[in-house]
């Protein structure tokens, strides 16, 4: 038995997220399992580093699968790419030790969120950024990020209603930058709860447009209530950038 790690990019516009769920069609996991199972003539499960929501993009999603084969990692990559649609690509295939698991061994992740905040909407970013017409106060948003950095209970910034597991996560850094009317927000952390990045972005946008103040952040953390935090920013602006092991 051998174990292969795939690094994957996808334009998530058309897809129902990474994880196959019951009858939900058009998931990335489903597409990969279909191709890889056919390649090796047996049912093969493909493990992703984590779910990505419907419409979310990836520049560095990681997955792994096990199979018996004599193929080189490189020819596995080329063969999968031949069968993938044009909006999905494997950028790397690497053999790993058998115990490697893309989700269980993930140590940290980077997510990028792009807001289109230019004078005119960017028609080419329609599916790749969240358009906000109102000019946002980036300096205020930058200041606000410092309240999220470090270890916190992010229960109020999570869409899950039942919290069976810990909702404590550590954010290492949040970088806000601006170029050509786009605002880029890069999150680095040891893990992110369901919708957490999108809710943090929604909260930052409400701060940048004076609907919330920086002083509200502490109250939101203390209240532990999803309703107090900002809206869930749309999936089209979100990119899973890197998974570290």
């Amino acid at each position: 038995m051998r174990n292969f790690k795939l690094t994957i990019q996808y334009d998530g516009t058309k897809y129902n997220g990474w994880q196959k769920q019951g009858n939900t069609k058009n998931t990335l996991q489903g597409i990969f399992e279909n191709i890889i199972s056919k390649m090796f003539g047996e049912e093969i499960e493909v493990f992703g580093s984590g779910r990505t929501d419907a419409g979310t993009h990836a520049k560095g999603q990681v997955a792994n699968f096990k199979c018996k084969t004599d193929m080189t990692a490189n020819s596995i990559k080329d063969t999968i790419n031949k069968y993938l649609p044009k909006d999905i690509v494997v950028t790397e295939c690497e053999e790993k030790e058998l115990r490697f698991h893309s989700r269980l061994n993930a140590k940290s992740k980077d997510y990028l969120y792009i807001i289109d905040n230019g004078t005119n909407r960017d028609v080419f970013m329609k599916n790749y950024a969240f358009r906000v017409d109102e000019k946002l106060d980036i300096e205020l948003m930058k200041k606000a990020t410092s309240y999220f950095i470090g270890e916190h209970d992010f229960r109020a910034f999570c869409s899950n209603k039942r919290h069976k597991k810990s909702t404590v996560r550590t954010i290492y850094s949040i970088d806000v930058s601006e170029e050509n009317g786009k605002i880029y927000i890069l999150f680095k952390g040891n893990g992110f709860l369901y919708n957490m990045v999108r809710i943090l972005v929604g909260t930052l946008i409400e701060i940048g447009s004076s609907k919330k103040s920086i002083d509200d952040i502490e109250k939101i953390f203390k209240g532990e209530d999803r309703k107090d935090a900002g809206f869930t920013a749309p999936a089209c602006g979100l990119y899973l950038m890197n998974v570290y092991y």
Copy 2:
């Protein structure tokens, strides 16, 4: 009567080009005439600086229309943008003298063509660049461009079979550059024939992949036969960048 000049960007992926033609739906001209006629309560014709093919994009298409109104140019811009779909935007609206005509007065145009030639295909450029897997020889392509610059009869580089009008055009410059696996080819000229940029790009790609040699270019010009030139590169890589007056 007043005359307004519009500068327009569009993601051409979904559209059948600029010009309305018989029953062809989903043309940019049709969409603009529909919105502007409704705004002013009368049939208004919108003149574009030229056709763009189905699937071709624009970062600086220019159009003009005449109407009686008290609206400012800026509020016309905002109103049209409110009714346009998200993949089309007016970036500028300016009042011009009555004799201004976006096509008849155009002095020169810039077109950009983007080739995705990186190691891995760029899933985010699926509709915005032409993917070529084979590594192209950019130095050879740069050398070849010099044979197209200046005044030439581009009859062999045109898809029109009947040439009622002159097929002589002047190309001022062709700049080939590379960044992150993308090849950018910028054409500046006093005018371009039907499919001319796409056929020039197809010819440059055949030179860059050694299917044609630089010596073939002179023969193609002399033969005046479309069949001798390269293939018509797909519309998705083409952008109308600027129209100058």
